[in-house]
Amino acid sequence: MPHSGYTVFIVEDDASVRDALGLLLGLQGYPVAMFGNAESFLESLRSGWRGCALIDIRMPGMDGLTLQRKLKEIGCDIPVIVMTAHGDVESARHAFRSQAVDFLEKPLDHVRLIAAIEEAFSCHSQTLRSNESRVEFDTRLEQLTPREREVMDMVVKGFHNREIAKALFISPRTVEVHKARMMDKLDVATVADLVRLSLGQ
């Protein structure tokens, strides 16, 4: 399993559909968690959860599209797959505008379902990975001296050593020393890496 520790969270009001999907996905090797309505899913939601949510649109109480929007609002980054018994364009549009990974019509095509879940998992792991590297980068940034930080900002903006030296009233040689130390502290090899990481902030 490339995504170990990733769970499929099924939110579906129809007990048979929930049970059947749970069984099928469980046999496919996915850890599955099942919820009978949107409210209970929101209650149990924890920030460390990884995987994707498979949400039915039509449910008594809070419907699937509202749940999807709520998840975005509270900053939950679990990707969402929406499923519906009648795929009207309007709800598909809303699902995709709220960044649904896929919009599946019932009865479900299992190949598409698995593909959507895989896509959602890689989507989530990518998000998590970029989050991780950003957190790491942030802690490293804190180790920089104010001068090194100034030099970094200008390097990222695309200034040459000579221009930086002039702007900070120091010699180009000193700029080079600051820059080397800054790159070393941030653990980046090239200016291009530096720019990429700092833009992710």
């Binding site: 129809d14 039509r58 419907d63 509202t66 009648h86 009865p107 299992h110």
Partner: protein, 530 residues
Amino acid sequence: MQTESTDMIAQVQRLLTGLAFVAAYILLDWASYLHPMYGLNITPWNPSPALGLVYWLRVGKRSALPWFVAILTGEVLVRGLPATLPLTLVSSLVLMVGYGFMAEAIRRRSDGDILHDRGHLLMWLVVVIVGTLITSAVYVSLLFLSHLIPVRDWTVAVLRFWVGDSVGIVVTMPFFWLLFDGRHRLRNLLRRRETLVYVLLAAFMLWVSFGFGAVGEFQYFYLLFLPIVWAAGRQGVLGAAIAAFTLQAGIIVAVQWQNMVAVTVFELQMLGAVLAFVGLFIGVVVDEKQRVSDELRQTLRLAAAGEMAAALAHELNQPLTALSAYGAACGQLLERGENGTRLKESIARMVAESNRAADVVRRLRDFFRTGATQLERIALGELIASSVSQFEHKARLQGVDIAVDPVPACTLLVDSLQLQVVLRNLLDNAMDAVQTQADGKRHVSVHTQVLATGKVCIRVRDSGPGLSLAAAAGLFEAFQSSKANGLGLGLVISRAIAEAHGGTLVAEPMTTGGLFLLTLPVEKVDIDAA
């Protein structure tokens, strides 16, 4: 060999039919040979051409020869050859050609069904009147040129002959036509008690109008309209044809019985023709209305079924989703070599899900077949909540505020799927009605109240432009839609569903906002819960 013998049987059959036709024609000619002018074929009532026309409509041009033979034989047998043989041959030919043209015109214009609608009926009447006028003018002129009719009587003779033929055809042709083309329908009608009753009424009215009124120039003739209008109103054109024929036969009997003079009989014939035509016309209109109403009912049934199908499609998709997932899971289990309880359990669930799907299909089929409803006990609150919840998302998008007042705790015995169609329809309309209002002024409310009559009244109200009195009245007519994309059937179906449940659905005309009242009988008021 086989085809030769069947050909021969067909030919013999044709010959026999022709002979039977000739015999019937002459018999009719003989029976109606009353009050002739100068011993000629000029009588106040001449129904035999009607028989000829029906024969022509059935077999086409082949009927020309037997018809000619019948006319000629009639001259010889019934009237004893009043003119010379060559003249009789020529005059019979004139009649034959005239009737032939009429028959062909009717056949081509009406596809053989003269009583189908008002257009066919009027066309038939015009052809008969114009055709007989031309035929009688030519026929009488021929006799006149042969000095069989005096100069001064030409007009009178033409008039008599024309009226005799046209009245004979108008009054009897529909009946003959029924005898040959609608025998099955005719037999059904004759078996009904109502038919007997109006025939008896006709006989009684004949007795009244001729028993008392003959002296006063048929002052009670209008009484004869009662049975024919009754027959036409109840049984359509078939009833009118039966009644017209009965009345005509009765009039002829009465005329003979009272020894009326030819002029009186002639006037009576005009009245009889009007009587018959009024009856036929009412009958055709009644038939047409019936046909339209049948078609509309069918359309409504289909539309209602369509609404049901949309609701059922959702219901059907759930078990199908579960079924296919269980099926795929079973495949996985088998691949792993499992054949224990897990597999058995999954298969049992598949069976349960297919039963659930079959249940939905059965309900749809029942609705198509009988419009049958699947009654179940359901809490009113649940019903309303599930209908309203389907609109929450849409309402939020369109900035509509839907307020549901506390629902009294009671149980209904209804088809929840059908009632959801009704409530969805009402809410849909309310949502559309408030579209034109400004932001913050789009309100829809659902208020529920248990009435003293043991019914519950659900009021769906909106802050839209409201309904005028006229609009509220026309709202429930099919195809009356103010929406560009609507067929206007939603409310018609909703009302039909409400009424099928022993309830009502009405629109209240109001100047501010729309209001629909859906009343349904309550199965049980849950006092302890309330």
